[in-house]
Symmetry: C2
Subunit: 492 residues, 2 copies
Amino acid sequence: MDPFSNLMAYVKDTRSLEYLAEILEWDQAAKMPHSAIEQRADSLGALTSVIHDRHKSSLIGEMLAKIDTAKLSLEEKAQIREIKRSFERANKIPSKLERTIEETTARANIAWEQALKANDFQKFKPELEKVIQLKREQGVILSSGGNPYDGLLEDYEVGMTSENLDVFFGDLKPRLNKLRDQILAKEEFQAPSGKKYSKEKQIKLAKELAGLFGYDFDRGRIDTVTHPFCVGAGNDVRLTTRVDEQDPFNCLYSTIHEAGHGSYEQNIDQKFCLTPIGKGSSFGVHESQSRICENQLGRSREFAGWLYQRMKDVFGEIGLSSSDEFYCWINQVKKGYIRTEADEVQYNLHIILRYELEKLLITGSLDVDDLEDAWNQKFLEYFGYPVESPKDGVLQDVHWSLGLFGYFPTYALGNVYAGCLYETMNKQIDDLGSSLAKGNTTSATKWLRENIHQFGALREPRETIEWAAGATISSTYLLDYLENKFTEIYSL
Amino acid sequence: MDPFSNLMAYVKDTRSLEYLAEILEWDQAAKMPHSAIEQRADSLGALTSVIHDRHKSSLIGEMLAKIDTAKLSLEEKAQIREIKRSFERANKIPSKLERTIEETTARANIAWEQALKANDFQKFKPELEKVIQLKREQGVILSSGGNPYDGLLEDYEVGMTSENLDVFFGDLKPRLNKLRDQILAKEEFQAPSGKKYSKEKQIKLAKELAGLFGYDFDRGRIDTVTHPFCVGAGNDVRLTTRVDEQDPFNCLYSTIHEAGHGSYEQNIDQKFCLTPIGKGSSFGVHESQSRICENQLGRSREFAGWLYQRMKDVFGEIGLSSSDEFYCWINQVKKGYIRTEADEVQYNLHIILRYELEKLLITGSLDVDDLEDAWNQKFLEYFGYPVESPKDGVLQDVHWSLGLFGYFPTYALGNVYAGCLYETMNKQIDDLGSSLAKGNTTSATKWLRENIHQFGALREPRETIEWAAGATISSTYLLDYLENKFTEIYSL
């Protein structure tokens, strides 16, 4: 074999092991008997360690040295780019630090669970301090002396810096704050009556919706779990969802969201399957695909009109007297402390709050001693009402206990990206609204497939979005969309 | 760490990866989307290769050399015995041969499927010839110049030789033949009417039965597949079953069989979990546990009496007018070509036929050209009626296409072992019959747990059985049991 093929064979095996590890994580959440938890954790640890060793293996360095990159195609260059990145990253971090982070976050995660249960941040604090200390150390190494937070960010959104984020989020904050204030000053929508929605029917309709948004069941499946997610690669990409008998929208919109992730992975060009670029371009780009399906398309007035009728077919009367009322209800904006339950308007404020705090923690400008106060103060400032309880505030998210600093911003970035893409999609598809009104999402999913999905990680995240949108990334598109939509819904 | 602990940490990681590979095979059979087949095969290939490399790693040799085995406990010595065996075996077979076998059996398996579909042995023949050639080569290496078939046997039943098998099976053949002839001369039992049995109710009762036979659902689960099996280790051992609306006994007795395997794995001492001896002692010993549950206990007159009532509770009338009629029906012996559908009397004849043929194939005394004729001739001789069609004869089993020569005998060995164990269990448990008549299997499952399960692979297979049975292994116990049972059922 030529040197390039040799290297590709090696990294394909590594990606294959990663794919298997993901399926095992799916199994753990969806199917595994509960008494297997410890044995599975140890076993997945063994597999993860094999994968890690492969990423840092000196074999990769030797093979890379033999390749004349000048002669490679664009796609091959992209493969090399990804291989080099993971190789260099893996070799930057000393094994000892990596292992300490793993052990510390395992303990911190348990402490967080106990603190959440006890509704007491003090129980989490000492462990969180250790995690932050280690992640700062890691950030310093990864950023090669630059901003340590940027070093961590790089793991989730290559090429993104806190400087860029400050611009995007700086644009979002004042206009979202204003919009939120205007909405919350209006009357709340009336909740539909306390009808029960059969779990079986919800799942059946959820599967129909996943299919509508481009998810292929020949190469995937849906199961129920506590916290929905999407895993897998290529021809084996699995969605999970949750079902609440009182609230069918939870299941339906979770599923559309995960179907957005799932169809992204499924529609990547088959020739990239189980190669370094055969996956979504970044966490942010991935989130843009789930959010555009869930919100810009799935919560549009047109699609809501169709879904209202479909839900009545499936469940009978649902306590909402018109498709207008239905549209308003699924887009309601109301007070709330919990990020994962937030609406389109307030969601990004939740993220910005976390971003600002974690940046301060990692750069050392905020002590964990002051974190709870800082959270509560910011929350009051951005949302207009005080946090009553740590479980609704600083303790609500699992991320920091797991050491996932730099992850939160990708949720809001996904929304910003989705704003850019929707602007362009809307211009390029003449009949988008009238199609959606008939429950026909083909033109939209085709656009996403052709402009985003098929390329996988061929391009870096920013280039991926800008190539598809034909414009520079900016928060303006998302803000314009939100202001138009909610001004109309709430007659502002 | 001391040298022994060092080695154990290494092999525990290997066993962990093996456990994960098993769960992934479960996933493939029970949950995986069908379009993922190729990607999964490649990925599992990558994982298997990692596991294989670990088994043959020179690190093991270096660690073994540092251990003073004289100072080890009995259990530690058993661990070393298993580690040495897999290390030596893995290093005996050249990687190139291993790889060629893998590729050749993959092709042969496809050829077998096509041949079975076309009902034409000629389509399988050329590929089977290649497989046999390679397995013979492997057998020569593994037996170090002895009988190459014994080299292969060693992979499934350590310490067993064809010389031993010839004795066990030589005892079985004439007495089973005679018993079969006597039975088939009698009238067949009347089939119950063509009632349909709800799949949900079958699964529910099957789960109840699995629980009765000692299977723990906190550490396992049951799903439906085409060909039932049991996989996993320790606290994550999974059963599969199949459901036929017309024939509830298929599901119920398959499940009891697999529950026998499952409770064996689950009840191995937790301190051996994910270590080299933390698994069943051999294929034959494993099969003895499934067969004793399915047959000696599950198809006993006493248990059948209880199950008859239980089935009537669950399904209403089942077209069998008494527990006697029920007992006869679930133990019926009738003509048939297919091993997997065979009754207690004829099953071992199916195995002996395969054993005799594959021994000749591997030692080179039978050409594949003559295999179909040899099969048909032996079948007529042992069963008394001719094979009409290759799909009912030489093509019916998947094993040879996969290169599993030496596997078949363990099915019959399991029956022989179960015969020995049941003889002893019956002597040692006073109220076995009266308990079973109340659907109470506790004394039996407790006996198996204490005398077999808890030890895992602490002892070699023969010693495992003889320790529990307190007697030398012999086919006589099985034969006596079968003759007594069927003489009564058929009034011979």
